[in-house]
């Protein structure tokens, strides 16, 4: 393999990994606080992409207005899901919460099929994201650096929110112990809503960027990125935001590189992600960055 094609694959892998990272943050934050595998998260990715699509194609908005509006709408739906489906079940066994997440995922996907139509739609990239760039002999389309940069900016903002704001500190406290945090005078409902808000908006942003990278959108497009992002979250140590970013990046790069080095294994690409996951779970069940928790008896 030449150094050029290696770099080419690397940028490709990093941009895919950046998308996984954005999506997996939502999983990890919700899991960290509620211990819930929010299977509906992948469908928020789909919603974000569709809202952006309709904003541009139907309402003829410029992209710089349509994209933030799409993120806003998706965030709103994320909050509604939390209030309507998850909040009433918080005190119940976790299987109920999990089943609710599955039901919400079903609902979103089927609603999307009914409302948006089952046929795939072509997502039009803004013109400036559709140019071929050459650096030396490495060539890529201009959306690649934009995806990577956007992901870096969004992740930095998120880290700042989590580390520097009161809500962020409360969120970290909640993930350690909900009851004690509530006794300290934190409005837990509001903070949990805030976590869902952050996660959903990142998922929507991830969805729009995903549609820019793979410009064919359909109602089930969120399922695969959702599962992969979830794997990434577990790889990094679920519940840990830094871990989710590292896990996402790692998964994206490894997936692309595997196919680049061993083209004959391309069919096994999806299985490979799960194989890494299972191996990691067996040898380090808490993921790369996860803390080892002692079991209380």
């Amino acid at each position: 393999m030449t150094i050029e094609s290696f770099l080419q694959n690397l940028t490709n892998g990093i941009s895919l990994g950046a998308l996984y990272a954005l999506i997996s943050i939502g999983y990890t934050m919700v899991y960290g606080i509620l211990r819930l595998i929010n299977f509906a998260h992948g469908d928020l990715v789909m919603l974000g992409a569709y809202f952006a699509f309709y904003g541009v194609a139907l309402f003829l908005l410029p992209w710089w207005l349509a994209f933030p509006l799409a993120i806003l709408l998706t965030t709103l739906i994320g909050i509604i899901i939390e209030k309507a489906a998850y909040k009433p079940l918080r005190e119940f066994p976790r299987i109920n919460l999990f089943a609710a997440a599955v039901a919400v995922a079903f609902l979103l996907e089927n609603l999307a099929i009914v409302i948006f139509g089952g046929r795939p739609k072509a997502f039009a990239r803004p013109a400036f994201l559709d140019q071929l760039l050459n650096i030396g002999k490495v060539s890529f389309v201009s959306y690649t650096p934009v995806i990577i940069l956007t992901a870096i900016v969004l992740c930095t903002i998120l880290i700042l929110i989590i580390n520097r704001t009161k809500a962020g500190i409360a969120m970290r406290a909640l993930s350690k112990d909900i009851e004690t945090t509530a006794l300290m005078g934190v409005n837990t409902n509001r903070i949990i809503m805030f976590a869902f808000m952050l996660g959903s908006s990142l998922a929507a942003a991830g969805g729009i960027l995903w549609a820019i990278k793979f410009p064919q959108i359909n109602p089930l497009m969120g399922v695969m990125p959702g599962l992969k992002a979830f794997i990434a979250a577990v790889l990094g140590g679920i519940g840990n935001v830094w871990g989710a970013m590292i896990g996402g990046l790692l998964l994206g790069v490894v997936e692309i590189m595997l196919v680049a080095f061993f083209p004959q294994l391309a069919g096994y690409r999806d299985a490979f992600a799960y194989a890494i996951l299972i191996l990691l779970l067996l040898f380090r069940p808490t993921g790369i960055m996860g803390e080892v928790q002692a079991e209380k008896v």
Partner: protein
């Protein structure tokens, strides 16, 4: 024979009646209804076995889709005739060993079950060290790996094209017969000392281990029994729908099974059966809303996909407002049924008595 309860006697009486009804249904019911009833039984087996692993043993396994796929493929490959196989495998020839292999249905189903149980053991052996959500993720991962392998092992499974023309051996006696066997085995198991150990593992692993319950042994036992029956049910499914491809066994199947089991009530086998039947029948009954219909002078165009929307709303409502599921952790029993009726009678007597001067 002193300690046979009224409940057991009624069950013993009911069983031949039920089998008689099945034979009648098999002979006279139209094929469409037969198919729905077959699906009811197959989904019931899925839900009952999931209940054994999760509801009784507390191991959150999402591997059902993978085990069902293995059962379905084994049964498809063993029941397809050599000519049909030749027609199916036009892209890449089938492995020579499998080319002329054809077995009767019963041994095929047993092999399906054993194959699924073997894979179940291979998966469980490392995965059962994990707990809770991690086990769920690992089993989901294994099940997806099985699916990807099915897509890629073209000379055995015909890849993404799937297998067509599988003989429709499954009938009501096969499917409900296996459901009864499955219910009997699982019920006997959870009521035995092994079953009590499983419940102890579910309620508190650490305490159970401290009391000398072998964690691995009991988890493995639940896993093996469950994957065996899931494999059989997969075989029944393949010989019912006659066309299978890896997409049938995506993780959606596992989600559906979780949904059904929660709806029926965790730890209630009869609840699982009732929920599975309701789910299957309901999904079919909702079919008309997808076609065009008229109310008065208003014509409502059919909306494809609407029944799944309605179904997911109902599932969500059940999960939100009927949190213990239909049966909670209670079982259907004749005693309970009789009690309901006698209570109602007493109430009626009481109320009529009260209105008379």
């Amino acid at each position: 024979m002193k300690n046979i309860s009224r409940n057991q006697i009624l069950t013993l009486v009911f069983l031949p009646v039920f089998i008689g009804l099945l034979i009648l249904a098999q002979a006279f019911l139209n094929p469409y209804y037969q198919r729905i009833l077959n699906l009811c039984a197959i989904y019931s087996i899925f839900a009952v076995t999931f209940n054994l692993v999760f509801g009784y043993t507390g191991q959150f396994s999402l591997g059902h889709a993978g085990f069902a796929a293995i059962g379905a493929y084994i049964s498809a490959l063993l029941t397809l005739s050599p000519e049909q196989k030749a027609m199916n495998f036009f892209l890449k020839p089938i492995l020579p060993v499998l080319e002329n292999l054809q077995l009767p249905f019963f041994p095929t189903l047993i092999i399906s079950g054993l194959g699924a149980a073997l894979v179940g053991a291979l998966i469980a052996w490392p995965a059962l060290r994990l707990r809770g959500d991690y086990l769920a993720i690992a089993t989901l991962g294994f099940s997806e790996i099985i699916r990807v392998l099915l897509v890629n092992m073209q000379s055995v499974t015909n890849g993404a094209l799937g297998l067509k023309g599988i003989p429709g051996h499954t009938n009501l006696l096969w499917s409900w017969g296996w459901l009864i066997v499955c219910l009997f085995v699982v019920k006997r198991l959870v009521d035995s000392s092994y079953g009590r150990a499983m419940k102890a593992v579910r309620d508190d692993e650490v305490a159970a281990e401290a009391l000398g319950v072998g964690l691995f042994k009991h988890k493995m036992m639940a896993f093996l029994v469950s994957s065996f029956f899931v494999g059989v049910a997969g075989g029944l499914l393949a010989n019912l729908i006659s066309t299978i491809d890896p997409k049938v066994f995506q993780f959606f199947l596992a989600y559906q099974i979780v949904g059904i089991t929660v709806m029926g009530g965790m730890g209630s086998l009869t609840g699982s059966v009732i929920a599975a039947c309701l789910y299957t029948i309901f999904l079919e009954a909702l079919r008309p809303i997808e076609s065009q219909f008229t109310i008065g002078s208003l014509t409502i165009p059919g909306i494809p996909g609407m029944r799944m929307v309605l179904f997911s709303i109902i599932l969500l409502l059940v999960i939100l407002f009927y949190r213990k599921g239909l049966m909670g952790n209670k079982e259907f029993s004749w005693d309970g049924l009789i009690k309901i009726f006698t209570k109602r009678k007493k109430k009626q007597v009481g109320s009529t008595g009260g209105t008379q001067p």
